[in-house]
């Protein structure tokens, strides 16, 4: 009886979940098993679409780029975010509040606006960055130079998302009771071992959230990259999202459905592995 009532109370949420998540997912899965072209014909082809997705060199190359991109931005953003959080004052003063608000500004800007800002900032004709670079004797043109396009994309992401890591770490740092640091001082712990055995383990949960958000978001990132480079020059910055969008534009719905599901699968598996790994850090080490 009691269980029935729980079910009844959950029903509205379940119905909404079903309509917005389960139904489209099933539809997409259905499409991915069909040879479906712009609504003209539909024929079951089994796993054929998945096979051609995984055999597409452009797809595999976009996966590589995606992993590399995510790896690089996390490697920069997490340590940088923790480091900057350390420099913020612990006590709440009007200065620290102002600093926090300023840090939060990039997070408030819509993604496509960030893309446009960086686009303008880096354009060879009107941008500020190319001018500065040419003064330094470097020819900077991300529209032509794939490497430069890459680093510009990384810089944009770091600019946009490091503040999130800072704010999360700052909140985490402030929640560690002062007594732990006093005790560590009495135990003559060095700065490094204080960080390793007290701060880092206590920041763990906050960092997991930060890491998961950053991995998921960098896998999902579309607007910013599209506006900045549109995957170019060539397909130098063609991340998974851009590849998927290109596939969907081609009216080959069966194929693009298969691509989307592989994309989703990768994100879920990755987050699961990350979650498990980070949660086990420091569990049993002595």
């Amino acid at each position: 009886m009691k269980n029935m009532r729980v079910l009844f109370l959950l029903l509205p949420a379940l119905v909404i979940m079903f309509l917005i998540a389960v139904v489209p997912l099933i539809t997409v899965f259905n499409y991915s098993l069909l040879d479906l072209f712009a609504g003209t014909f539909a024929e079951p082809v089994g796993w054929q679409n998945y096979v051609s997705t995984l055999r597409d060199p452009a797809f595999m190359s976009s996966i590589k780029k995606q992993f590399l991109f995510t790896f690089i931005v996390i490697l920069i953003e997490i340590p940088l975010g923790i480091g900057l959080a350390f420099t913020l004052p612990k006590q709440k003063t009007s200065w620290s509040v102002i600093a926090l608000i300023l840090l939060g500004i990039p997070l408030l800007i819509p993604w496509n606006v960030v893309g446009i800002m960086w686009r303008v900032f880096t354009r060879p004709d009107v941008g500020l960055l190319p001018v500065i670079m040419s003064k330094l004797g470097v020819v900077y043109n991300p529209a032509v130079n794939g490497g430069q396009a890459w680093w510009t994309m990384v810089a944009m992401d770091v600019w946009h998302w490091t503040p999130l890591v800072i704010l999360l770490s700052y909140a985490g740092l402030n929640s560690i009771p002062q007594e732990f640091y006093q005790a560590a001082k009495i135990d003559a712990a060095s700065i490094w071992s204080t960080f390793r055995y007290i701060t880092l383990p206590k920041l763990k949960y906050v960092l997991v959230i930060g890491l998961l958000l950053r991995v998921m978001d960098s896998f999902k990132m579309y607007d910013e990259t599209f506006l900045l480079t549109a995957g170019g020059p060539g397909n130098a910055t063609e991340l998974l999202s851009i590849y998927t969008a290109k596939a969907a534009r081609g009216s080959n719905y069966g194929f693009s459905s298969a691509v989307s599901l592989v994309y989703l699968f990768i994100v879920i598996v990755l987050c699961f592995i990350l979650y498990k790994t980070v949660m086990s850090i420091g569990e049993a080490s002595k």
Binding site: I186, D187, A189, K286
Partner: protein
């Protein structure tokens, strides 16, 4: 191990110039080597400030701190070789119990086999040797607090152990356990330990020397027995004991003591003491020395009403009321007595246990 000597300590929060934030007003205090001491007082009396001055987290505005005749006033906590327990157990969850105990030694670059020997020795003393390879989360709160203590004991040079209300987050059983263990360890190792608390029961059961503080001053220091039997001020009498001492203002009218709501004849042995006293007089009596009777008995008894009985386990607390005056009494739980009865009460029957205060200060011997 060390003797602590505080010499004329003043502490003002926010520097010398700000007035009114004076937390300590000239403290002179000695804790002998190997002493189990306690700082006891209500919230805001300055006891935690005093502890932080001993540990070195704060520097006194005036005065000096000595450990064994060495001036440590300007030394940092780690240079003073103290250990401290906080209001909750500070243990490092990211390392196992062994790692926790080894932590201070590893930081001091001792050899691993020396560390092992010392860690096992201390783990035995604090009674957690079977948990060495476990995560501290496996221990209960009392054992975690002991583990935190162990990190202090493991260093051979630890001079003093400071305990800052270490029972705050423990439930009753854990408190009982930790109190027993702390006492045992203190007696076995003969370390100087200073226990800060607002709980008189913890102080009385742990310490051999208790320092009672109020408003930044020491009011009285002494053994638990002295504080209980001869509170030198009416504050200490009221503060220590469950319930505290009954304290009543009175004035002398001829040969009578006038308590406003009742009058009693002046007891014989008080005539000498009360002669020529002009200050505010108070009489103090511990609840267990209050006598009562169902019918009008002897001299010194007056009529009251028994308004409540609280059962406190092996004893009962009786509350009598006469006019606006409340009198607390204490009897063994076997005593049969009913609420709401008219009862005759005497507060002067046990003359040797009466304490008289003039302007709050004890004048009886």
């Amino acid at each position: 191990m060390a003797k602590i000597w505080l010499k004329n300590i003043r502490y003002v929060y926010g520097g010398k110039r700000r007035k009114g934030a004076e937390a300590l007003k000239g403290i002179d205090l000695v804790f002998e080597d190997g002493c189990a001491g306690a700082l006891l007082g209500p919230s805001g009396c300055g006891k935690t400030t005093l502890l932080n001055l001993i540990s070195g987290l704060l520097k006194p505005t005036e005065g000096k701190v000595f450990f064994n005749d060495t001036d440590v006033t300007d030394l940092s906590p780690e240079e003073r070789n103290i250990a401290q327990l906080f209001q909750f157990p500070v243990v490092y969850d990211s390392i196992d119990v062994y790692g926790n105990l080894a932590f201070p030694l590893r930081n001091r670059k001792l050899l691993e086999n020396e560390i092992k020997e010392r860690v096992i020795e201390i783990a035995k003393i604090i009674g957690i040797e079977q948990f060495l390879r476990d995560n501290p989360r496996k221990l209960n709160a009392g054992q975690r607090q002991l583990l935190a203590l162990g990190r202090g004991l493991v260093r051979k040079d630890t001079a003093i152990i400071l305990l800052d209300e270490p029972m705050t987050q423990l439930d009753l059983h854990q408190r009982w356990f930790l109190r027993k263990e702390l006492k045992k360890i203190q007696q076995r190792l003969n370390m100087t330990m200073i226990y800060v608390t607002h709980d008189q029961y913890e102080a009385l059961s742990f310490a051999e020397k208790i320092v009672v503080m109020k408003d930044g001053n020491i009011v009285q220091e002494g053994t638990p027995e002295t504080l209980y039997d001869y509170p030198n001020t009416s504050f200490v009498g009221w503060f220590i004991g469950t319930p505290g001492m009954n304290i009543y203002n009175f004035s002398i009218k001829d040969t009578m003591l006038d308590f406003n709501d009742f009058k009693i004849n002046m007891p014989q042995n008080m005539k000498e003491i009360l002669k020529g006293r002009t200050g505010m007089l108070q009489l103090g009596i511990r609840p267990e020395y209050v006598r009562y009777s169902k019918e009008e008995a002897k001299e010194g008894f007056f009529l009251t009403k028994l308004i409540s009985i609280e059962n406190m386990g092996y004893f009962k607390v009786l509350t009598f009321k006469v006019g606006d005056t409340v009198i607390k009494g204490k009897v063994l739980r076997e005593v049969e007595i009913n609420e709401g009865q008219e009862t005759w009460v005497s507060i002067t029957e046990d003359e040797v246990n009466l304490r008289i205060y003039e302007n709050g200060v004890l004048i009886t011997k």
